[in-house]
Amino acid sequence: MTAVQNAGPLIRLAALSKHYGTHLVLDQIDLEVVKGEVLAIIGPSGSGKSTLLRCINYLEVPDGGLITVGPTTIDATRAASRSELSGLRRRVGMVFQSFNLFPHMTVLRNVSLAQERVLGRTRRDADERSMQLLKRVGLADKAGQYPVRCSGGQQQRIAIARSLALDPEVMLFDEPTSALDPELGLEVLAVMRELAESGMTMIVVTHEMGFAENVSDTVMIMADGKIVEKGPSAQVMRNPQQERTKRFLRAVHDR
């Protein structure tokens, strides 16, 4: 068999929809993200941006539509199998607003565990890789500590390392700095910027307009479960076309 080079987008969402009861959270979302692209999703609370992100690795189960990540496509209209979900989740890393480190494990163990359980690496190999990653996020000295001994910014950087340890093809960030004070947020943003520059494909739900404008390639504005506007970051942030986008950005800048 010859491997067919996938020239298309790394991620493709087609007509993705999701209801909570009668409330429509995602309304027929179509979205493509190419390899190496950094996409920032911004918009008001309740616009569906977090739900969209969480559908991509099936933490939320959509009601309809197609999700494609690399060679894996899941049809949301039928129940996903265990192996389909694995295929999806192994390609997709996720960083949460509340970090969600495992409090009963050392920092090193947090980063190594899934490498052993999911990738089958030996403890020694996993720990070696973990130390590389902890060094990369500037926290090699915290390896033996428990998460509770780390600041919020440090915990979030550890969470990023934990996710990177599975060698994902795309990283999802769900408001990664929203639970942090501005200074701690900055150290997390620095790590994310470095990750973006290294060529990682990233989708970032954020309220950090600086990141959206300066780090991301593409910015997408969502409101009421729909994509309002999407385009190159400089264009969307400085010269938005849609009235809804202008209103949202005005509210951000007037603050």
């Binding site: 933490l59 997709v92 949460f96 480190l101 409090p103 999911v118 428990y146 509770v148």
Partner: protein, 214 residues
């Protein structure tokens, strides 16, 4: 009180300890499959285990011992008083431990499950690596205070003739007519037994708190 009287009470100590530790160990172990059944995705299993837990917890321990010893033991399968008490108390401990585990499980932050899923850890690893250590850690203080309660509960075994502390005290008080002193000593034994449990639980809790408090 003579030294001989004191020794007579002391003779009940091993059986009290054996009943307590036996029932607690069995309960702590059996509580795990019981919790699993209680949390099962299969409705019948969930229902049966819930009813079982409610029945076991709803009937007074002394009645359970009577049911097992006089009810089953005298008419179906011959059973010694000690075994009857051990079985009865183990059942009760299992139901109570399952509920203690369930409370601890509910206290685990939902973000822990989401992190496990996003890392594709799988059901077994999530259970063994993520949930179980946190459940045991949270359950520890409740389990320790239940252990002390169970230790006192073993006194009901005296009613079916298990020669543990309360039984020995009762015998001695009837032969010496010095009930107050005798039962004061018996009470002191129970207090002395509970102290190391309370102390160990607090020490373990403080140790874990310092390491992994949230």
């Amino acid at each position: 009180m003579t030294a001989a009287d004191f020794l007579a009470i002391l003779r009940g100590l091993p059986l009290t300890i054996a009943l307590t530790m036996g029932a607690f160990t069995a309960g702590a172990l059996l509580g795990i499959p019981l919790l699993a059944a209680r949390q099962s995705r299969l409705l019948p299993l969930r229902f049966v285990s819930m009813v079982l837990i409610q029945i076991v917890r709803g009937i007074p321990p002394i009645l359970w011992l009577f049911i097992i010893f006089f009810g089953l033991g005298m008419s179906y399968v011959p059973i010694s008083p000690f075994n009857a008490a051990l079985i009865g108390l183990s059942l009760i401990a299992a139901a109570n431990m399952a509920e203690i585990y369930r409370g601890a499980l509910a206290s685990i932050h939902f973000g822990q499950w989401e992190a496990s899923r996003s890392l594709d850890l799988g059901r077994w690893s999530t259970l063994v690596d993520i949930a179980a250590p946190q459940v045991f850690r949270v359950a520890l203080p409740s389990a320790a205070s239940y252990l002390i309660g169970l230790m006192k509960e073993t006194a009901v075994a005296s009613t079916i003739g298990v020669a543990e502390l309360a039984f020995q005290g009762n015998q001695l008080s009837q032969s010496t007519f010095r009930g107050l002193e005798v039962f004061a000593i018996v009470g002191l034994f129970y207090v002395l037994l509970s102290l190391p449990v309370a102390w160990l639980s607090r020490a373990a809790d403080a140790y874990l708190q310092a390491k992994v408090a949230r």
